[in-house]
């Protein structure tokens, strides 16, 4: 019997865990927000540069499990260059994907790279890992929050 863990740890996730993109301190960032899950110790700092309504640059630093790190990395690649509104729409889509799973008959391709996280909804204990960086990005867009926790 297979363990089924492969449905969670898809190649894109392993790749971004091993070689996270935009994994650096971003000098001159307009927003710097910390993401922290006190239960598991996942801890990231997310940096945003804003050019009007556009996320002109995004980077992150920190450590945590493969799910949280690859999620932060993939997020950084998909929201860069997007408007706030577009980034929020991506948040909503991602949130739906990892909490509810793809709807029956739904084409996963529309999620692009985010589709790699379609297995997360089958692992309820790991939803918080996947969503941590996204919540942090969202609050960085909105407020002056300094630390975002998914606990």
């Amino acid at each position: 019997m297979t363990s089924g863990a492969e449905s969670l740890y898809q190649d894109i996730i392993l790749d971004h865990n091993r070689s996270p993109r935009n994994f650096r301190v971003l000098d001159g960032a307009h927003r710097i927000v910390e993401a922290y899950n006190p239960l598991c110790g996942d801890h990231y700092t997310i940096y945003l540069k804003l050019d009007g309504e556009i996320i002109s640059d995004i980077a992150f630093q920190g450590s945590g499990c493969a799910i949280s790190k690859s999620s932060a990395s993939v997020m950084s690649t998909v929201v860069k260059g997007k408007t706030r509104e577009e980034a929020e729409a991506l948040f909503t889509a991602f949130h739906h994907l990892v909490t509810e799973g793809a709807d029956a008959g739904e084409d996963l391709d529309q999620y692009g790279k985010l589709a790699a996280f379609s297995g997360v909804s089958e692992f309820p204990a790991r939803v918080k890992c996947a969503i941590l960086a996204w919540h942090t990005m969202k609050s960085a867009l909105h407020s002056d929050a300094k630390t975002v926790s998914t606990e």
């Binding site: 363990s3 863990a5 969670l8 740890y9 598991c40 945590g64 790991r126």
Partner: protein, 420 residues
């Protein structure tokens, strides 16, 4: 009458029939993701034998009523059963009197009780409270709160690289204005068995009382509080094959007598007027409100069940299993064991390559193997050994070598899934 354990395990000192004993734990037959459960998270909570499950059910089916109150038959039965259970526990831990056995919710409440009563009476500004570097948060935070309120200082006995307290440093710390030592019997994160008898003796030579956090110790064999000469011993029912929500504070009668109550309410009083309340006698002074009666009854049954086991044989069996697991894990590529003390109980904390323990835990779970991953409520321990978290396999008397094999095979799958 106390119901005797319904099943007993036939054992001689040399042989220990683990299969027969496993038969007493219904949950061990549960399937997880299609695999027979391999439960290696005993340091978090142990599973329950049929005798304990039945005991709680029997209480609710045949005698449920409030205790120490009614004159009706059920209340008298429930009260008698509750107090018989206290007596079973007293006997099991070798306490001199049932007055020294206080029912609490668990180890955490027991420690908070001592900090809030004995601590506030005796610890003042400039005094020291001593703990070790391997404590669970429940034996850190109550003392920090006490020190914060009183202006006392929390001193921490440092650990060596194997995960043992450095006794020479402990001796030096004891020479300060120390009012209390609070130390774990066995570390939940490292598995270290502390030399508590020696540590208690050192403290007592200077007239310093000692509280022992026995949460991890009770599932690995009987503890005799008189032999240890500890002043307080705190433990939880659920980690010793009993139910959750019930635990014990043992305290020496002379100390408990002088301590103020922890909480006010019913059952802890002799008489109440609006002007003055006369507190009840020990141990009821510390048991305000309706207690967890069913839990207390079932914990009594757990101690009776434990008394029927051959602990010489089980002690040997558990040590062999720990050795087997330690050797097998050490042979796994990329595995580093955190906590290599000379005296250890069946707890192995480890990290593997740079795979985060939560990823290990998730993949193991899909193979039916349950371990704990994270900081184990011992963040200072993680910091001391430079890891954010560990994976922890913890063994109880019903675990087997083939379950260790299942763990090792599943760890092989972790490497595969993670592409290592």
């Amino acid at each position: 009458m106390i119901t005797p354990p319904t099943t007993s395990v036939p054992m001689s000192p040399q042989t220990f029939d683990v299969e027969s004993l496993r038969g007493e734990f219904p949950i061990l037959n549960v399937l997880v993701h299609g695999h027979r459960l391999v439960y290696l998270d005993n340091a978090a909570t142990s599973q329950k034998p049929r005798a304990v499950i039945r005991s709680e059910e029997e209480y609710y089916r045949t005698m449920n009523a409030n205790v120490h109150r009614g004159v009706h038959t059920l209340s008298e039965k429930a009260t008698a059963r509750y107090e018989e259970s206290r007596e079973s526990i007293r006997k099991y831990i070798g306490a001199g009197s049932a007055k020294e056995i206080v029912f609490v919710r668990g180890t955490t409440e027991a420690i908070n009780l001592v900090a809030a009563t004995y601590g506030k009476m005796h610890v003042g500004k400039g005094d020291h409270v001593v703990i070790s570097g391997m404590e669970h948060h429940s034996n850190i935070v109550p003392w920090q709160m006490l020190c914060g309120e009183t202006g006392a200082l929390l001193r921490v006995i440092p650990l060596n690289d194997r995960g043992e307290v450095i006794l020479s440093e402990y001796e030096k710390i004891l020479d300060g204005p120390v009012k209390l030592v609070a130390i774990s019997h066995i570390s939940n994160a490292l598995g270290t068995v502390n030399p508590i008898r020696e540590m208690i003796a050192s403290a007592h030579r200077r007239g310093i009382p000692v509280l022992v956090d026995g949460a991890q110790a009770m599932q690995h064999g009987p503890v005799d509080v008189r032999e240890l000469e500890c002043d307080f011993y705190a433990f939880s029912g659920h980690k010793m094959f009993g139910p959750t929500g019930i635990g014990i504070l043992f305290g020496r009668e002379a100390l408990l007598e002088t301590m103020p109550p922890y909480q006010g309410g019913g059952d802890m009083i002799k008489s109440v007027t609006f002007e003055k309340t006369i507190y009840n006698d020990l141990p009821h002074k510390f048991e305000a409100g309706t207690p967890n009666i069913a839990g207390a009854v079932a914990l009594g049954t757990a101690t009776e069940w434990l008394s029927g086991l051959d602990w010489t044989a089980i002690g040997l069996y558990e040590q062999n299993l720990l050795q087997y697991a330690t050797d097998a894990l050490s042979d796994m590529p990329g595995v580093r064991i955190i906590g290599t003390a000379e005296r250890k109980a069946g707890i192995v904390s480890f990290v593997m390559n740079d795979i985060h323990p939560h990823d290990i835990g998730t993949i193991l779970d899909r193979d039916g193997v349950a371990i704990r991953t994270g900081h184990h409520c011992a963040q200072p321990v993680m910091m001391r050994y430079g890891v954010p978290a560990t994976a922890r396999a913890s063994f109880a008397l019903y675990n087997t070598a083939s379950e260790v094999d299942a763990l090792i095979a599943a760890l092989g799958r972790v490497r595969e899934v993670m592409g290592i």
